[in-house]
Structures are given as structure tokens and as C-alpha cells.
């Protein structure tokens, strides 16, 4: 692995297929630890992982904190709502304070694209991007790829539809890059207003018709429909979106029997996915959640424990 994570993990862009495959392979090891009677190893004792979230989150934050604790790292938690940001403290000052408390890794989420990169430039700690605006959410793409690989053996040749608000989705962006790099064929399904203004250079095909696409799929990946898109005038109404793009029981019946249904969460049951479909046997939504912990253990270990960031000074020595 050359391009990551000898430093921070900021995006899927810039990673190679073998970087991703190495992380996925390593994740099997951490997945096994999660199934042990005592799901904890001492690998990162004495290290500190800080979650620095300028935007709300349930699963990403819990998932990183669980991963850190399973590796015996200490955790520190920063939430914008309860912080001195409201007193006017800048992001940079906030980051410097957290670093001064001894954080080795900052797991960062922020509503503005590119902030993770900026924070990485400011700090000596390592940075993991846990979602920056509409840009990227690399660990989500890794856990999605891991989930698909676990169920399907490989992503090579899979036909995957990503359905919904592609335009504002960092998950879609990271997923498209990761899935296609691993050999899958990706089709984006959305009304034209919810597609990015330019898809130049995206290795994908486009469809406006979910019904036409469903029977051809190996994976149907639904994105969350955010209510603010209506006030922005991008869709006429939630009901109309659900009628055209919601995965209901009738539509799910046209999806092949061995296909998978994914969703990054949180789900809006009754909008992009009907409640009964979320508990369909083909749904792997809860698997995604548990695999998220394993992937983040692998990422944190690669950053802090593997010795990759020690530089090229030492080959493996001793050990017998």
C-alpha cells in the first residue's frame, strides 16, 4: 500500500485497487475479533482517537468509537452543538485544542467539502474523513464494498444501481469510485434534478427509470432522501419521489432473488424504502452497520498500529 494510510485517509479518490483490497482483506481479521467472547485486543493501547463532528451522526460516530475501543485506544468526543464554536472559536483553534489533549487520530465530519483536507494540513495528528459535505465518505464506501464482497464473493462484474439524491451524496461519490475500481458496473438512478450538473469522467451509466433497471441488478443501493430537497425545489413532493423512486414491495418483487438491498442509513422508511422492504431477507442494511465497525478497526489499525507511518526505515525484523 503506497498512497494510503501512511498518512491520513481523506478520500477514495487517489487510492488504488490494491489499497482497497488490502484494507478489505485485513478487515476479515477485525471482523473475527468482533465475534469473540471478549471482542477486544490490546493493539492500540495508549493511543487516542478523537471524533470531531461538526454535523450530526449516529452510526458513523458510534462505529468509530466502538472500533477504537475494541482496539483498546482511548476515545475523545467533540460535538459542535455543545462546544465553544457557538462562542466563536474557529475550527482551527478547536482542532489545535483537541490535538493538545493528545489525540493521535482525528475522525472528522463537517458539512463543507474539503474540510478534512484542510484540517489535515493544520495538524500533526492523522485525519480520517468521516464525511465532508458533498465530497466524500471513504470509510462508508469501504464498508459497503466489504459488505458486498462478503455476500457476493467479489464485486467484479456486479451490476449495482445507486438510487436517489446522487447530487448531494458523498456516499454516492465514494461508492462509485470504490465499486468501479473493484470491477463493478454502476448505474445511477435519479430524477435529472438530483444528478450532479456534470457527470464527465464518472465511469457510470444513467437511468431515470427505476422499474426498468431493477430486474437487471445484483445490488440496489438506496440513498436517503432529505426533506430539504423539496424546499430547494429539486423534487415536486416526497410522495411523487416515492411513487417514482421508492423501493416498495411491488418493486422489490422484480429485483432478482439473489440481489442485495443496501442503504447507508439513516433510512426514511416509507420514503425511499418501504418498511417491509428494509426487513426483506435480501436487505443487508444491518450488516452494513456491523461491518462498519470492522472496517474502521482496520483503518485505525493501519494508521496507528501497523507501522506504515513509521516510514520506510524498518523492514520486518525478528519475530521468531
Amino acid at each position: 500500500m503506497n498512497s494510503i494510510p501512511s498518512r491520513s485517509l481523506l478520500s477514495i479518490e487517489g487510492m488504488t485497487k490494491s489499497d482497497i483490497e488490502e484494507i478489505l482483506d485485513l478487515t476479515d481479521t477485525f471482523d473475527e475479533i468482533g465475534r469473540r467472547p471478549i471482542p477486544k485486543v490490546p493493539a492500540l493501547r495508549g493511543r487516542t482517537v478523537a471524533t470531531v463532528f461538526f454535523e450530526n451522526s449516529t452510526r458513523t460516530r458510534l462505529s468509530f468509537e466502538t472500533a477504537a475501543r475494541r482496539l483498546s485506544a482511548d476515545t475523545m468526543s467533540f460535538g459542535a452543538g455543545s462546544s465553544s464554536l457557538s462562542k466563536g472559536e474557529s475550527i482551527r483553534d478547536t482542532v489545535e485544542v483537541i490535538e493538545a489533549y493528545g489525540a493521535d487520530v482525528l475522525v472528522v465530519r463537517h458539512p463543507a467539502a474539503g474540510i478534512a483536507q484542510r484540517i489535515d494540513n493544520w495538524t500533526d495528528a492523522l485525519v480520517v474523513n468521516a464525511g465532508d459535505g458533498c465530497h466524500e465518505h471513504p470509510t462508508q464506501a469501504l464498508l459497503d464494498a466489504y459488505t458486498l464482497r462478503k455476500h457476493k464473493g467479489s464485486l467484479n462484474g456486479l451490476r449495482i444501481a445507486i438510487v436517489g439524491d446522487i447530487r448531494h451524496s458523498r456516499v454516492a461519490r465514494s461508492d462509485v469510485l470504490a465499486f468501479t475500481m473493484l470491477g463493478a458496473e454502476v448505474v445511477l438512478v435519479a430524477p435529472p434534478t438530483l444528478l450532479p450538473p456534470s457527470l464527465e469522467g464518472w465511469p457510470v451509466t444513467i437511468s431515470y427509470d427505476l422499474d426498468e433497471v431493477l430486474p437487471t441488478l445484483d445490488v440496489c443501493y438506496l440513498l436517503r432522501m432529505q426533506n430539504e430537497r423539496i424546499s430547494e425545489g429539486l423534487i415536486p413532493s416526497v410522495r411523487e419521489y416515492t411513487a417514482d423512486y421508492g423501493l416498495n414491495i411491488k418493486r422489490a418483487a422484480t429485483l432478482p432473488k439473489d440481489a442485495l438491498i443496501c442503504h447507508p442509513g439513516p433510512t426514511n422508511r416509507g420514503i425511499e424504502i418501504e418498511a417491509a422492504v428494509a426487513s426483506d431477507p435480501r436487505s443487508v442494511i444491518l450488516d452494513q452497520v456491523s461491518n462498519g465497525v470492522s472496517i474502521r478497526m482496520a483503518v485505525l489499525f493501519l494508521l496507528l498500529g501497523s507501522g506504515r507511518n513509521l516510514g520506510a526505515t524498518s523492514e520486518l525484523e525478528g519475530g521468531q
Binding site: 481479521t29 469473540r36 492500540l44 507501522g307 513509521l310 520486518l316
Partner: protein, 188 residues
């Protein structure tokens, strides 16, 4: 003499050059046979005995012991594999990466565990293994079987079953494979 790239067992990143063959394939078979008999004798049979091979070199030793034990007693004891990388005491000091997924599906509460490894050197791998195993349950007893004890212990750890006691220089490397045990060095 044998030359091979070190990819599976540490130290990696070099080519192992053998200088002397210490045991050949037949010697290994005889050593395994003797150790298997010792295991049965010491434990009065194989009740509650579980073999745990340490990734990666110890897995082969565990498999050979299991085969020999099943020929002696007619039943083969449960077997598991353990990767100790995440329990090592040198994480952060040198590159450490897990090589294989641990597979222990048998209940270790009350078991007599025989840890199998290829080479016993500083004892640090065994310390890590003891630490890791105790997360899986509370075994009645843990014993240690190694193909080669090469000395230079840095911790108060000793083997219960030894294929071959082999005095070595600290700079030398011991390579164990089904074809034989070689003493040599790693050339970068």
C-alpha cells in the same frame, strides 16, 4: 542449499539462504511422532485437549501433531489457529500486520490447550498468544509444543514438548517447512 523468499513467516523482506540442514523430512516426522506420544502420556489421553497452531508457521506443526495424535489414539483433538499480531508488544515500534484470520470455534473453558509453533526464540510470540487465548475462555492448562527451541529467551517461558533443541547465534534464522529444518541467514 535452499534459498527462498520470506513471505509467510517473519522476518520478511529478504531471501532466506540456508547454511545447514538440521532436520530432514524424516527427522521431522519422527520428532512429531515422539511429541504426540508425549502429549498423550502427559495428559493421560486426549480428553479436553485442544491444539492451537500459531499463524503462520505453527499451523503446519499443529496439523502434523493432530494427524499423529489421531493415529495414536483413534480420535483427533479439536484444532484452532491463532494470529497473535494484535497482541504483540512491539506494535508501533516496527511494522506489524495480521497475516491470517484467527479461527477458534471450540470452547476453551476448562480445556487443556497445546499451543503449537515452529520456532521458540525470545518467547514474545508465546506471551502474546497466552494473552490472546485468555480472551476466549479460561483453559484448565496451557502447554507449549515447538519444532525447534533455538534459545535466547527474553521472558520466563519454556516449552513442554520440543522437536529439536538447536543452539543458534542471535543473528541466524531458523526456517521450518515440511521438507526440513534449515539454519541460515536472511539476505536483503
Amino acid at each position: 542449499m535452499v534459498e527462498k523468499e520470506r513471505v509467510q513467516t517473519p522476518p520478511k523482506g529478504g531471501v532466506f539462504v540456508a547454511h545447514a540442514r538440521v532436520l530432514d523430512a524424516e527427522d521431522i516426522k519422527r520428532a512429531i511422532q515422539r511429541m504426540a506420544h508425549e502429549i498423550v502420556e502427559r495428559n493421560h489421553g486426549l480428553d479436553n485437549v485442544v491444539l492451537i497452531g500459531l499463524q503462520t508457521g505453527g499451523v503446519m506443526v499443529a496439523e502434523m501433531l493432530t494427524e499423529a495424535l489421531s493415529k495414536i489414539s483413534g480420535t483427533s483433538p479439536p484444532q484452532g489457529t491463532l494470529d497473535v499480531a494484535l497482541h504483540r508488544d512491539d506494535i508501533g515500534m516496527r511494522p506489524v500486520i495480521p497475516e491470517a484470520v484467527t479461527d477458534i470455534s471450540v470452547d476453551l473453558d476448562g480445556a487443556t490447550i497445546v499451543i503449537a509453533d515452529d520456532v521458540l526464540f525470545t518467547g514474545r510470540t508465546i506471551r502474546a498468544a497466552l494473552d490472546a487465548l485468555c480472551d476466549f475462555g479460561r483453559p484448565k492448562e496451557i502447554q507449549l509444543a515447538v519444532m525447534v527451541d533455538r534459545g535466547h529467551r527474553e521472558l520466563p517461558i519454556r516449552p513442554d514438548y520440543v522437536g529439536k533443541n538447536l543452539p543458534t547465534r542471535i543473528s541466524e534464522i531458523v526456517d521450518v517447512s515440511p521438507e526440513g529444518v534449515d539454519l541460515g541467514t536472511v539476505e536483503k
